[in-house]
Structure formats: structure tokens, C-alpha cells
């Protein structure tokens, strides 16, 4: 099968009367070597890690900035997302009404539509306020930041949750 041709031309017949010297073949059977080669290739293909971990950048605001210097957000463009336990997401647009009638529950699949809708409606005024509560996990937080970059939301803020909202989440989760 796999051999190197080293005989150099087809002089097989040396004519009558010429004594044939015993010729050792210089051909090497390469099959085992090829086998081994491919075995190693498969090994390295499977062990190699092509996808390197990527990094998501996040810049934090400076807490020391005086409250009067901080930007106030326009209520018309505000969308507040609250992250609860078990991957629950709650949201309200604008200001939270006293009777909490605009407090809605959703999940990570549908939150994209909510953001897209709000974005179309609010256009340049859009500010997303993200409030993770103590029961949400790190994945939820990354997922929601990811939604921000997927939907190209330029302005968003991570804010501590207020007791009123915490209470609303507790009540909604309890009712489900």
C-alpha cells in the first residue's frame, strides 16, 4: 500500500545470464505510521479548545458623585427591570404607580420584546434601570446585561432595589 518507490526505473530484467543479487527492498510500509498520525490528530482535535472565554466589559458609576450632579432620568423613557429568584423578571415602565398596576411579570425569553417595544416607543430617551434583588443569581445579571448589548441599549444603570419593589416581588412570587 504505502511505499516509497525507490527502485528507480523499470530495470527488472537484467538480461539472460546475469546473476540476480539478492535485493533488499528499501520500501517501508507507511501504514502504521499513518494510522498513528491520524490517531494523534484526532486526539489533539478533541482536546484543543478553540473557543477562548470572552470578557464582557462593564464600567461602574462613581458613588461619590453628589446627588445633585447625577443625571435624572426622564420618566417617559424609563424601563425598570427587576430580577427575582428562579429566573423571574419583573418590569414596569416609567414610575411605579401606587397601586402597582403597571408592575408586570415576565421571563428571560419575553423580556427582549419588552425592551424592543420600549425602545421604539421611547427612542432616544430610553434608560433601562436594572435592579437585581438578593435572590437573583449571577447568570440572571449577565443575561440582562447581554440583552442590553443585543438590543443596543446605550444607557442603562444598575441600581439597588427599593423595599417597596422587594415587597411587590415577594407578593407576586408568593401568589404564583
Amino acid at each position: 500500500m504505502a511505499e516509497m518507490d525507490t527502485s528507480g526505473g523499470g530495470h527488472h530484467k537484467k538480461g539472460p545470464g546475469v546473476k540476480k543479487g539478492k535485493k533488499l527492498s528499501t520500501r517501508v510500509d507507511l501504514t502504521p505510521m499513518v494510522d498513528l498520525g491520524f490517531l494523534l490528530i484526532t486526539f489533539f482535535i478533541f482536546t484543543t479548545t478553540m473557543s477562548q472565554p470572552t470578557a464582557m466589559r462593564l464600567a461602574l458609576p462613581d458613588d461619590k458623585v453628589k446627588p445633585e450632579d447625577q443625571n435624572k432620568i426622564k420618566q417617559s423613557g424609563a424601563l425598570t427591570l427587576l430580577l427575582g429568584k428562579d429566573n423571574h423578571v419583573f418590569y414596569y415602565e416609567g414610575e411605579l404607580l401606587p397601586d402597582a398596576s403597571n408592575f408586570k411579570s415576565t421571563n428571560f425569553k419575553d423580556i427582549r420584546d419588552v425592551i424592543i417595544n420600549k425602545k421604539q416607543q421611547a427612542d432616544t430617551n430610553l434608560v433601562v434601570v436594572i435592579k437585581p434583588n438578593d435572590e437573583s443569581n449571577y447568570k440572571n445579571f449577565i443575561d440582562i446585561l447581554d440583552e442590553m448589548s443585543i438590543n443596543v441599549v446605550k444607557r442603562y444603570a444598575v441600581v439597588d432595589i427599593s423595599p417597596v419593589e422587594e415587597d411587590l416581588i415577594k407578593r407576586t412570587e408568593g401568589g404564583q
Partner: protein
């Protein structure tokens, strides 16, 4: 008219070329492969569409495992090791731990730092005895509550060690790590005026039809 001679073809194929290709590929994979360093703290990172590769040098990595324990680890380059030494010495001086040079060296060799500052001497001792520390048997750096957030100390030490140089703060959190611990680490960053950091994620492709997808298609550079 004689029958045309049918040349008898040999069934053996010359494998030399194939062999060449095989070994070329083999050498490529051997050279490009990079074995995953065995992680003392296993962490499942969340996925994101971020496409920037995480840096590997001049890093200070804070790992947050599934139990909410925080660990510090460093890069592998020589510069990273020097900085690690500076940091440990800084902590040693500020908290008068009285670590010997041997103990400092043992801590530098350790894959991560995962004990409260007061127990650093013990960890160094265990390290010198050749005991392998893992995420399971280490208590982690305390940052669960705001009152005793030792991460602030460590970041301060890092800021001191990396004075005038660019430091890459990296946060590697597990999917199920709870948010409050993460928040306390953010507080530690903020207290030391470190406002930029990166979070390690696994890359996923951008969902089609979304705005970022269209933006990428139009070829506009991101930010």
C-alpha cells in the same frame, strides 16, 4: 490486429502525500493546543454575546464559585507573579501577619488565595506541607457581608502593586452564584476607584434578527 494491451494497474496507492498532510495537521494541532490548566475552583460561566477575548496578562481574577465563595487568582507571566508578591507583602505589612519569606513563596505558588486574611499563614503552612487546596475545602475570601469585606483590602493591595500600570480586573462568576456577593465585590472595586472591569463569559452567537445582529451585518464597528 492484436488486442490492445490493457495496462495492469497497481491497486496500491502512494500514501506519501497523505502521510505528509497527516503529519502537517498533527504538528499544527500539537503547536496550537493549549491544555486547560486544571482548575482548583471549577466554575461554569454564563454565556454572552461579548466578542472580546479575555486578557491573560496583568490580571487579577476574582472567581465566584457556586457557593458564593470568592477566590483570588493571578496570571502566569513573570510580571503577574511579581505583582502577586507585592500584594501579599502589602497585606502582610498592613495586617502584621508576620509571614516568613518561605511562606510568601508558598502563597505565590498556590493556585489561588481563598482564605480570610487572618488565615493566610495557615494556608501557607498547608501549601508547604504539599496539601492541595480546592474550592471545596477553602472558606473563601470573606465578602458576604458589608461589615467584613476583605475584598476591599485585596483590591487596595492590587492597586498599590499595579501603580502606574494597567491592571485588568476580571470577574469570573458561576451561573448560580447569588447576586449579593457579586454586589459586595462591586463595592470593593468602587471603594478603590476601580470603575472598569471585565466579566468572563462563554461566547455565543448573536441571535438573528436583533438589533446588534443587524448592526454587525452592516459592518459598523461596535462602539
Amino acid at each position: 490486429m492484436g488486442r490492445p494491451k490493457i495496462a495492469r494497474k497497481s491497486t496500491s496507492i502512494d500514501m506519501t502525500a497523505m502521510c505528509d498532510v497527516a503529519f502537517l495537521l498533527l504538528s499544527f494541532f500539537i503547536l496550537t493546543t493549549k491544555f486547560k490548566p486544571s482548575e482548583a475552583v471549577p466554575i461554569n460561566t454564563p454565556t454572552s454575546v461579548a466578542n472580546k477575548i479575555a486578557p491573560e496578562n496583568n490580571i487579577l481574577m476574582i472567581s465566584l464559585n457556586k457557593d458564593g465563595k470568592a477566590f483570588l487568582s493571578f496570571g502566569d507571566s513573570k510580571n503577574d507573579r511579581d505583582k502577586k508578591m507585592d500584594m501579599i507583602k502589602y497585606i502582610n505589612d498592613n495586617h502584621s501577619l508576620g509571614l516568613t519569606d518561605n511562606e510568601v513563596a508558598a502563597l505565590i505558588k498556590a493556585p489561588f488565595i481563598g482564605v480570610p486574611i487572618a488565615q493566610l499563614k495557615q494556608q501557607a503552612g498547608l501549601q508547604m506541607q504539599g496539601k492541595e487546596l480546592t474550592g471545596e475545602n477553602s472558606p473563601g475570601i470573606p465578602c458576604q457581608d458589608t461589615a467584613n469585606n476583605q475584598m476591599i483590602e485585596w483590591i487596595r493591595a492590587a492597586v498599590d502593586a499595579y501603580k502606574g500600570e494597567k491592571m485588568n480586573l476580571i470577574l469570573k462568576g458561576d451561573n448560580v452564584a447569588k447576586y449579593p456577593v457579586f454586589k459586595n465585590i462591586l463595592t470593593a472595586f468602587k471603594k478603590n476607584d476601580q470603575f472598569k472591569f471585565q466579566m468572563v463569559t462563554n461566547p455565543v452567537s448573536v441571535p438573528s434578527g436583533t438589533e446588534l445582529y443587524k448592526l454587525n451585518l452592516s459592518g459598523k464597528p461596535e462602539e
